[in-house]
Amino acid sequence: MSFSNISVIFTNTITKEWRSKTLLFLLIVNVIILLMAGGFLSVVNKEVLGSMNLDSLAQKTVGVFFLIINFWSFLVSAFFGVGVVRSDSEEGVLPQLLAFPISRGEYLTGRVLGTWAIVMLYYIISLAMAIGGVYMAVGSFAFSAGLVSGLLINAIPNLVVIILGLRVSLNFGKIQSFILVMLMVFFVYISNTVYQGVSLSEAMDKMTFMRGLGFLIYWLVPHISYWGECANELIMGNAFSEGGLREATHLILSGVILGFITYLGIKRKEI
């Protein structure tokens, strides 16, 4: 792996993606939603909750905003994950890039990391606006170490969605890929919810095809919902969820599998 090749592709990814009109559109929609929510909270605070502890209210409000931002960041991750290699292919740039002394692994790594950086930047901007909105609404600043930890942890599900999007886009068009990725995220969430804390013997009991599929997804795909919930808990100032070590091990193993499958997809692709 050449670090300089990865670095050139990483920088190029940011240069090409930050101009995206869709990102701008999503950011504007996000700002509008946050402003509306902030305005509503401000009215509620003045008219109804005047005597309530402001720090607690600020913390809860950030939690609500976080859910909104979290949802939007999945959309943004899926959108950019699907488009990052697909657009190279559609614009005829992919054969030119891969004709350089650059391996497909380096190309893939640079594209994934660049996309991740864009999504996280969007995420940080959104969160900063949410904190600003809360401050304006309730007059209390909600910054905490948990907020930063939550932000860092939420980078994990975003990365998973980006890689899923990239992998699916190697075989499908942009729109189909986007829909497929959102459906996959939905199913991963369901399987995570259903099988969280369920033992193997319990899972094997009354096994059907659909349950088996859900169980397979649960074991093979990183637990997006667990890490999302962890981030949410930390941002809300609560304790870290249980089973951290087990989940971290699962994340590393399933992440390696997902990364390897994506690498094989791009390695075998005829350009």
Binding site: V8, R19, G92, P101, I102
Partner: protein
Amino acid sequence: MTNIIEANDVTKLYGKNTALKNFSLTIKEGECFALLGKNGAGKTTFVKSLLGLIHFNEGELKLLGKSVGDKSSRMSVSYLPEKFSFYPYYTLGAVCEFYAKLKGVDSSDIKPQVGAALERLGISDLMNKKVKECSKGQLQRTGLAATLIGDPKLFILDEPYSGLDPIAIKELQDLLSSLAAEGKTIFINSHGLDSVEKVCKNIAILDKGELVVQGEMKSLLGEKNLLDFFYEKVGQ
């Protein structure tokens, strides 16, 4: 002289269709070589196989003495596709700088090399023009300028004359002749016979994925012109 391109019994299948069948070819350092063939003869398949963009089914393919599966085989190679394209918001200077970075040019050498390449193609005044504002000819010249960066040993040009006006064709012929005179190896993939006849000394003709003939153009043609010779070989 060193073999720059070596293909031994390369076969490429697309499902049941054979794009290349036991194709063998050797190109030596300093040659200006044209691979000729009708549309769909397998020329682009061969170029893509050379660059590792597609995977061939059988045979052996080497670039500068290394297997094409090894990315370092492309270290001293420049490739110009038939339709050069880049992200529309990049300036022509930025396109060349990006190419220089991917070719591993030292950061202190990037600006001088980009400037020299654009100057050689006569487009240094377009350095700050954006890709989306350029004509096809200007874009193709940019692609050519980008191929000059990094002092490559081998130029692989896929249909380089396609879509160019007569002046641009003449200028490209002059550029390729001067590169050949500098000892660079040039591999042109084309069905434009007139243009390659003036530049290349060696040719091969490919038909339905199979090599029909390969050799020095003068000795192959004798008294004939390239068009008649080509028609005789693959026109029936």
